[in-house]
């Protein structure tokens, strides 16, 4: 009986280790594919009230991306240390400006950036350097990056959020957006929104 308990104890220790290694912060997922839902990932609600308003979030600790008040959410996985992301920053800013200057799209399509392995300090450097107006979130411990399959950067994911709160991935691809107008057209096509924001 003692022997069985001993073996059981050993097994329990190993099982506990395995479970601990696969907690959300450690678990590695696959890049989300079109038609799937976004892997469960939590971000801190921004301190900046402008960003909170943009995302339609009230004050709080954390939120999940599909809670953002939008029809389409474009997520850029980036790093301030990534030369391609640095080169891509003006294109993403153009995309943001195109959306925000179109009264039919403003409020319906929103953009966020997640800095893989970047601290708040590093994300702020990127924000200031490239004058990024949409919210950027630090992902210092790679928690979100792991959930989306440790993708190379930049990587863009777009979600369509339905009125009932459900969502699905409509775009998931490595590499920059390059031409903002073409990328916006693609987002409209994939989300079945028209340029006036109707659907």
């Amino acid at each position: 009986m003692t022997m069985i308990l001993k073996i059981n104890l050993h097994l329990w220790i190993v099982i506990c280790c395995i479970v601990l290694m696969h907690q959300p912060a450690m678990a590695k997922g696959n890049p989300p594919e079109k038609g799937e839902v976004l892997p469960d990932a939590t971000l801190a609600v921004p301190d900046n009230p402008v960003h909170r308003d943009y995302l339609g979030l009230s004050k709080g600790n954390t939120f999940k991306i599909p809670q953002i008040k939008a029809t389409v959410v474009i997520i850029e996985i980036f790093s301030m240390y990534c030369p391609h992301c640095q080169r891509e920053a003006p294109n993403v800013n153009s995309l943001f400006n195109m959306i925000e200057s179109n009264s039919g799209l403003m409020g319906k399509i929103k953009i966020i950036g997640i800095g893989a392995g970047n601290s708040s300090f590093e994300v702020d450097i990127f924000r200031k350097k490239y004058n990024v107006l949409f919210p950027l979130f630090p992902d210092n411990d790679f928690a979100v990056h792991k959930r989306v399959g440790e993708v190379r950067t930049p990587y863009f994911i777009a979600l369509k959020i339905n009125r009932d709160g459900s969502h699905k991935v409509i775009y998931s691809k490595l590499g920059g957006i390059e031409k903002a107008d073409q990328f916006l057209d693609l987002m409209l096509k994939l989300s079945e929104l028209d340029k006036g924001g109707g659907r």
Binding site: C17, M21, S79, Y81, C82, E122, L174
Partner: protein
């Protein structure tokens, strides 16, 4: 019991792999980054301490010049950034970050000397992926790793540690970080050290 310890170690090592494989993922390098896996965090014996005079050296730079530490004496503070090798994960994800914060280094009258044990052609091809670097990249290829050895950061396999030395205008070492080779040093910590130089 031995078997149990082995199993636990196996689980932990596998998990450690998850933690440390996420660097060097910029699409700028495409699939050209060689992943050496998780390395011994440190593999050299220190030779220098904070407060020591930094040993002088002269190395060939990518732009064809020869650059010595002495030439900055009385003019600029110097951050020496040793990185282990070109075309490896964390290294490829370190200097591009320094490249967008020239203003911070300028504000603290500091220049960077980036040093690896690679030869000039390899450094040329590698750093071209990072965009135009504003700081000197020096080759410590021949005599192989001689400068890294002087600074006590030459590893037993001929690569260098991932190390930062902050040297003031008088040539005195003010900060040393021989970092875990598998991880990128915090930019925030380095900037704090630059701020201390002015005191």
């Amino acid at each position: 019991m031995k078997r149990l310890i082995f199993l636990i170690l196996l689980v932990l090592i596998t998990g450690y792999g998850f933690v440390t494989t996420a660097f060097g993922r910029s699409e700028a390098f495409k699939g050209n980054i060689y992943n050496p896996g998780v390395l011994k965090p440190r593999d050299s014996a220190p030779k220098l301490k904070v407060g020591h005079k930094a040993p002088d050296f002269s190395l060939p730079a990518l732009n064809g010049e020869r650059v010595s530490l002495q030439q900055y004496s009385g003019k600029k503070n110097v951050v020496i950034s040793f990185v282990p090798a070109a075309w490896t994960p964390v290294c490829s994800d370190q200097w591009p970050g320094y490249n967008i914060v020239r203003d911070i280094f300028d504000a603290h009258e500091t220049i960077i000397l980036g040093i690896t044990v690679d030869n000039i052609p390899s450094l040329y091809a590698w750093t071209n992926q990072m965009g135009k670097l504003w700081f000197h990249v020096l080759s410590d290829f021949w005599p192989h790793g001689a400068v890294a050895d002087k600074f006590g950061v030459l590893r037993s396999d001929g690569t260098s540690e991932r190390a930062l030395f902050v040297i003031d205008k008088k040539g005195i070492i003010r900060y040393i970080d021989v970092h875990d080779i598998n991880k990128r040093p915090s930019l925030e910590v380095l900037v704090k050290e630059l701020k201390k130089l002015q005191k």
